[in-house]
């Protein structure tokens, strides 16, 4: 028991931090600073604790339903680090929008807890609970600008669709349970050798609910609306923390079936074609709609649908190459960093919340702030996958994984979509650098915290784009699926 306790240390510290922050927010309602500091200390501490541990082997606790491994610790640490960046980088936004209240912080911490447990879960019920623990704060946070109907609408849409898809997940679990009599992943894996339509249906339902979470087309409809309505930092959190955790869970759910079994051969072929469809649809829809957008947040929403498509490329490749889906992990790592940077910058826009930040607010930014323009350029280029940014290597690995999986045509389509997407990013860059500022273009403010975070992210993006060795070595050594 003490060994398990030791292993669970980081999660326990996170829980303790949540309780502390909750306590602070209850007793010091008028000041948000203590809660902010407490939350920051919590995530930083947890990140240090979890990234400091490097277990050579995965350990299962709580009767085999919770996995403590290098992957889950990395996820916990990474998500905490992202949370820290958002806490540090977007406080000014909350103040400006008059929603800087202590509750924000413990909700955020609970969200991180849910997300990290979801990835660590090896039991469908635990996964469901973690999913809801992650989602409920997310709904609330999305509607955090309580006096803004757009924010409320976003929260409600997210809630209704998320709730329905949560039920679908549960129905899938129930089918899987019905087919195998067990709810643990390993149990399902060994039971899947006998196959059966109920198992396959249940598995499909599980996947669909998570494809919804990562907003793969044709389950992506909620994303642009929710992104647009939610407060910018929350949008950033959804784009990074929730997407990363959901996607990793999706990969693990996909691989809870033993595709080596003879009975599952047909299903594997079908599933691959279904996923191929989803991949191509996400890429095409995301990249083409992206270039029609005027709102920056909607643009990033469609951009993240495209990124889901790229991630799916890595998943598609993972079936054949010894079930190693490290390309997904690498992509997520790069994607999270550059998205965090981009959303922290987006939160600097002083455009009124009811219209949102539009693309034209970037016009002539170089004249006004070359510094901000440089940062924007780095993140946008990285999203487009230009060389010497982490975006390039991220794309390299998913393309390569998919190519190794024999999905040449999908790779070619992805390449074409990259070009289309690049147009959208370049258009934003062109607005900043190649146009004179219009009187209507919005104001941007720079704050020390956001500068620190954005510069850090930019350095990270460039560093990993030039010398990614250490990251690649580390991430390649982490088994995603057991």
């Amino acid at each position: 028991m003490s060994a398990e306790f030791d292993l669970l240390g980081p999660w326990i510290s996170l829980c303790a931090g949540i309780l502390l922050t909750l306590l602070i927010s209850v007793i010091r309602t008028e000041s948000k600073r203590p809660a902010q500091i407490s939350a920051l200390i919590t995530v930083v501490g947890t990140a240090v604790l979890s990234l400091g541990k490097q277990p050579s082997e995965a350990a299962l606790v709580f009767a085999g339903s919770f996995e403590i491994s290098s992957l889950t610790l990395l996820v916990l640490g990474g998500l905490c680090a992202l949370a820290a960046m958002f806490i540090l980088g977007t406080g000014h936004y909350l103040s400006r929008e008059r929603i800087h209240i202590s509750d924000y912080y413990h909700l955020l911490l609970i969200l991180v807890l849910g997300a990290s447990v979801m990835v660590a879960s090896r039991n469908l019920i635990l996964t469901f609970i973690a999913l809801e623990v992650m989602s409920l704060p997310a709904y609330t946070l999305a509607g955090f600008r309580r006096n803004d109907s757009r924010s409320n609408e976003a929260a409600l849409k997210y809630f209704i669709l998320g709730g329905a898809m949560g039920a679908v997940f549960l129905l899938g679990s129930s089918f899987v349970f019905g087919a195998t009599g067990t709810l643990t992943y390993s149990g399902v894996f060994s039971a899947s050798k006998s196959g059966g339509v109920m198992l396959e249906l249940g598995h499909l339902l599980l996947l669909v609910s998570f494809l919804f979470k990562v907003a793969a087309a044709p389950l992506h409809f909620w994303k642009p609306d929710v992104y647009e309505g939610a407060p910018t930092p929350v949008t950033g959190i959804m784009a990074t923390i929730i997407t990363a955790a959901s996607f990793l869970t999706l990969v693990r759910l996909i691989h809870m079936i033993d595709y080596g079994a003879a009975e599952m051969g047909n299903y594997l072929a079908w599933l691959k074609s279904a996923l191929r469809f989803v991949t191509v649809a996400s890429l095409i829809v995301g990249s083409t709609v992206m270039i029609t957008q005027r709102s920056l947040k909607r643009l990033f929403a469609y951009s993240s649908i495209t990124h889901t498509g790229y991630l799916m490329l890595g998943v598609l490749g993972s079936f054949d190459s010894g079930a190693s889906a490290s390309s997904v992990l690498i992509y997520l790592c790069g994607y999270c960093v550059m998205s965090t940077g981009a959303f922290v910058l987006l939160a600097l826009s002083k455009s009124p919340a009811d219209t949102g930040t539009e693309l034209i607010d970037l016009t002539g930014l170089m004249k006004r702030s070359p510094y901000l323009t440089g940062l924007w350029t780095i993140f946008l280029f990285s999203m487009a996958g230009m060389p010497f940014t982490v975006g390039f290597f991220a794309k390299y690995f998913v393309f390569m994984a998919s190519m190794n999986g024999g999905e040449t045509v999908v790779v070619v389509i992805a390449a074409l979509c990259t070009v289309v997407g690049a147009y959208a990013y370049l258009r934003a860059i062109a607005l900043m650098t190649m146009r004179e500022a219009a009187p209507t273009s919005g104001e941007w403010e720079l704050t020390p915290g956001s500068q620190l975070v954005a510069v850090g992210a930019a350095v990270f993006v460039l560093f990993l784009g030039i010398i990614p060795n250490a990251m690649l070595q580390y991430l390649k050594g982490i088994p995603l699926i057991h």
Binding site: P387, F392, F399, R435, Q473
Partner: protein, 488 residues
């Protein structure tokens, strides 16, 4: 080993110069850029002198160096730089182009000079990466990174309405290059399937490409071909070129026409030829026809253009058609001639745009209309322009003649029809270049000399020396061809 280690200086020094340019004060920025690029040119020539001045191919081969650095062992990519008788020319031309570009029309330095210089050195770095790398992934990195400074140079310092030209340039180039990347991935995945260690080094991909089934080889070839055909550009793939050449500031135009286009030539010689000899052989007739059509089509359009910059832009396509004709002979001699002609084209097109920028400075600006009758007023400038124009129409006795002659001589037995068609392009070439020159040079002067302001001086000082030396080089190497041919 000592020599090979210093190869990486060819990459690090431009980066260093880039960083330094952000510190150097605005006022001396231009001097700094020219000085640093001259210094770099000297270093590059010194570095490659063993190869450049070798008297025979065997000696040159002995001086060829390859420097390997494990950069990305996880993906099998190495920083393997190779300086040999192919890449040496391109590297030297790259450094030379930087000198010419930095010394062209100085007006552009009035706006954000630091950024401009930094972008220029980054461009130098990216191009050197591409020209030196034997590793396809690293080559791609260099190849693709060149877009970044180019976009900004055109976008920030370009004329009005430049944004759509920039998009067009970027998107078409990016389309080509990403399909090339997919082809590389395809080869790499074959390598994985064959069970070998993953390595994107050219040497280890050649057998992989050789073992591909016919259809696959064709598709992979197409990816490469499209990238380089857009970059050069060959004619159906050239529609990005004119606007961006015209709207770009002069240094950027010089860079694009003189050296960026050579990326395509280099890629075709260095990578496509050894990787897909069979496929290329299958399509040789078509390829030669495309090259010949490029020559004639672009020449006709150049003849139709009234704007000097547009005319030179098309002329660049036309001349590169000759280069590609040499490449597509798929023979050692043809490729050698193509490299030879490339060097000539680099110098001549850079000089043409350079001198045009000087005319631009001395008139009310080319965008306001073509100035006329300037040769009386600026005899030195226009004499230089005339000589360069002669080189451009490949008058015998110039570098370009020897190159073009050898290219056509080698392409004649391979495809006589294409050679004949391209030959007519040479006649048209004379037509439009004469038109180009006499438009501005002859006739009654259209501008009032009193209104010229600060720039009423003829070409002088550093610019004159630079132009003179380059013209001398064009003439001397027109006769001393052994420096290129090395008794091959």
């Amino acid at each position: 080993m000592e020599i090979s280690d210093s190869l990486s200086f060819l990459l690090t020094l431009p980066l260093f110069a880039m960083v330094l340019s952000l510190v150097v004060p605005r006022a001396v920025q231009r001097g700094y850029a020219i000085f640093a690029s001259l210094l770099f040119l000297a270093l590059t020539v010194y570095e490659s002198s063993g190869i450049l001045f070798a008297t025979s191919a065997a000696t040159a081969a002995r001086f060829a160096v390859e420097h390997q650095l494990q950069w990305l062992p996880q993906i099998g990519a190495k920083l393997s730089l190779r300086l040999d008788s192919v890449s040496a020319w391109f590297v030297v031309m790259n450094a030379l182009t930087a000198v010419i570009a930095f010394s062209s029309k100085g007006v552009w330095y009035r706006k954000s000079p630091k950024l401009f210089t930094a972008l220029g050195f980054f461009l130098l770095f990216g191009l050197n990466t591409a020209f030196l790398s034997q590793d396809l992934i690293v080559f791609y990195l260099g190849y693709e990174s060149v877009f970044i400074p180019m976009i900004f140079m055109v976008g920030i310092w370009g004329e009005n309405q430049k944004a759509s030209a920039v998009f067009r340039f970027f998107l078409m180039s990016f389309l080509g290059s990403i399909l090339m990347l997919v082809s590389v991935f395809f080869l790499l995945s074959r390598q994985v399937k064959d069970g070998g260690a993953v390595s994107s080094h050219l040497g280890s991909l050649i057998p992989v490409a050789g073992g591909l089934p016919e259809l696959h080889a064709k598709l992979a070839f197409f990816g490469f071909f499209l990238a380089f055909a857009i970059k050069v550009p060959l004619v159906p793939f050239h529609s990005w070129l004119k606007d961006v050449y015209v709207l770009a500031p002069f240094p950027a135009t010089i860079w694009m026409s003189a050296i960026l286009s050579k990326l395509g030539v280099y890629g075709m010689i260095r990578f496509v030829m050894p990787l897909f000899p069979q496929t290329m052989g299958t399509y040789q007739g078509v390829l030669m026809a495309i090259a010949a059509c490029s020559v004639v089509y672009a020449a006709l359009l150049a003849y139709r253009s009234n704007q000097p910059k547009a005319l030179l832009a098309y002329s660049s396509i036309s001349h590169l058609g000759f280069v590609m004709l040499g490449v597509f002979t798929m023979k050692n001699q043809g490729a050698l001639s193509a490299i030879f002609l490339s060097v000539g084209h680099t110098m001549v097109s850079a000089l043409l745009f350079f001198l045009l920028s000087k005319i631009d400075e001395r008139s009310e600006g080319l965008d306001l209309g073509v100035p006329r009758g300037l040769s009386q007023q600026f005899p030195v400038l226009f004499t230089a322009l005339f000589v360069v124009m002669l080189a451009s129409v490949s008058l015998p006795g110039t570098l370009n003649f020897a190159g073009e002659f050898l290219v056509l001589l080698n392409s004649w037995p391979v495809s006589t029809l294409s050679t004949v068609v391209a030959g007519f392009g040479a006649v048209l070439g004379a037509a439009y270049m004469l038109k180009f020159y006499q438009q501005m040079g002859f006739g009654a002067s259209s501008t009032d000399p009193g209104k010229q302001g600060a720039h009423a001086e003829d070409l002088s000082g550093f610019e004159l020396v630079l132009v003179f030396l380059l013209i001398m080089a064009v003439v001397v190497f027109g006769f001393q061809t052994s420096i290129f041919l090395k008794g091959n």
